[in-house]
């Protein structure tokens, strides 16, 4: 490729000075690639919108405009449900409550109260499996305040010694009060 007699530097220079043969269709191919690339990667409307949204901007607001905006937001928050005339919160779901009474020599004991229409047949109490005089009943109760009593052998009324007594006892037989919370 090079003549032996030439100086190496001259040989390199002469090689670099030779005209380069370029394919005549190269320009056309390059321009076609550029055109294809542009049409293939054009972002969608959502991307354009997102870029518009996240692009930082500077807002110029007058003090009066800022005050008006703050007042509008405060009015909106105040008008939300739960403000102003506050509605009473809803009561929660029911929970299991165990009632226990000691009634020696009783043959049957019933739990009666606001939760069972004071019906002595609705909630009979069970004697303790170990025998003795302990009677129990378990009831689901929703949050609230209930009056109740134990009816022993269909005639004798007992208040619950482990619970507050009903203050407004107007019928001459003692009642107790159970309060069920929701929180």
């Amino acid at each position: 490729m090079f003549e032996d007699r030439q100086d190496p530097v001259d040989r390199i220079v002469s090689h670099l000075r030779r005209p380069v043969q370029i394919d005549p269709a190269l320009d056309g191919r390059v321009m076609q690639e550029i055109a294809d690339g542009e049409t293939g990667r054009r972002p969608g409307a959502a991307v354009v919108a997102w870029r518009w949204l996240i692009r930082p901007r500077q807002l110029a607001v007058s003090p009066l405009g800022a005050l008006a905006t703050a007042a509008g937001l405060a009015a909106l928050v105040w008008a939300l449900p739960g403000r102003g005339a506050r509605p009473a919160p809803a009561e929660a779901t029911s929970r299991q409550f165990q009632f226990v009474v000691v009634a020696p020599r009783a043959t049957r004991v019933a739990l009666v109260g606001d939760f069972n229409d004071w019906d002595a047949t609705r909630t009979p109490m069970r004697p303790s499996p170990r025998g003795g005089s302990v009677w129990t009943a378990v009831l689901p109760l929703s949050p609230g305040r209930y009056r109740y009593a134990f009816l022993v052998d269909g005639s004798r009324w007992l208040a619950d010694p482990a619970a507050p007594h009903a203050r407004d006892d107007e019928f001459g037989a003692p009642s107790s009060v159970v309060t069920v919370g929701g929180s």
């Binding site: 203050r167 107007e170 309060t179 919370g181």
Partner: protein, 209 residues
């Protein structure tokens, strides 16, 4: 005269039949109490008051064998108390809140205490009102009971208030003066946060009144 007596009897029978038609449970009342109680319940319903507490009070009297006039007067008194409670707590109060509010008013708490409870607590105030009534029933002076409940109402859970009541009753049963028992229970609440201990285990088993 016999004709007017017959007319009165027919009217009473008609009223009694109407009462039973409105709520079959009222059939357990005697002929004297039934129309009187039905009238009170009708008035309460027209006034927007909860009627179930009135029915239950009448049934309590019937099951306990109380005279009809006594049952009617008890129901009438409860309806009046519910109306007073609603006037203080507002039309948005739930039936349990009104019932507990009526008990608190009957115990001697003033309307201002009920109104302050309503303002101070975002949750339902059924339990604070009930605990207030129970404390007074245990012998705690109304002012001391109201101060204790109001101090806790804003942030305490229902279970904490019920525990407060239990602590006071226990100390009274052990011989403490009601006011001193209330003060000691309050010191326990504000002292070591003791009422929150083991709350999960307590909720997992059936409670006791």
């Amino acid at each position: 005269m016999p004709r007017s007596l017959a007319a009165a009897g027919a009217l009473a029978a008609l009223l009694a039949a109407t009462a039973v038609a409105q709520d079959p449970r009222l059939g357990r009342l005697d002929a004297t109490a039934r129309p009187l109680v039905a009238g009170v319940i009708d008035s309460a319903r027209a006034a927007g008051l909860p009627t179930e507490p009135l029915v239950q009070r009448a049934l309590e009297g019937a099951t306990k064998g109380a005279p009809g006039t006594l049952i009617a007067s008890a129901v009438q008194r409860l309806a009046a108390d519910l109306g007073r409670a609603r006037a203080v707590l507002g039309a948005g109060a739930t039936p349990p809140e009104l019932e507990a509010g009526a008990a608190a008013l009957r115990a001697g708490a003033g309307p201002a205490v009920l109104a302050q409870l309503r303002r101070s607590r975002r949750q339902t105030i059924t339990v604070p009102l009930a605990v207030l009534a129970d404390l007074v029933a245990s012998g705690v002076p109304v002012d001391s009971a109201a101060a204790a409940v109001l101090a806790l109402a804003a942030s305490a859970r229902d279970a904490d208030l019920i525990d407060l009541r239990r602590a006071v009753e226990r100390d009274i049963a052990l011989g403490a003066a009601p006011t001193a028992a209330t003060a000691a229970a309050m010191a326990g609440v504000f002292g070591a946060d003791a009422l929150h201990v083991n709350a999960g285990a307590r909720d997992a088993r059936p409670g006791r009144p």
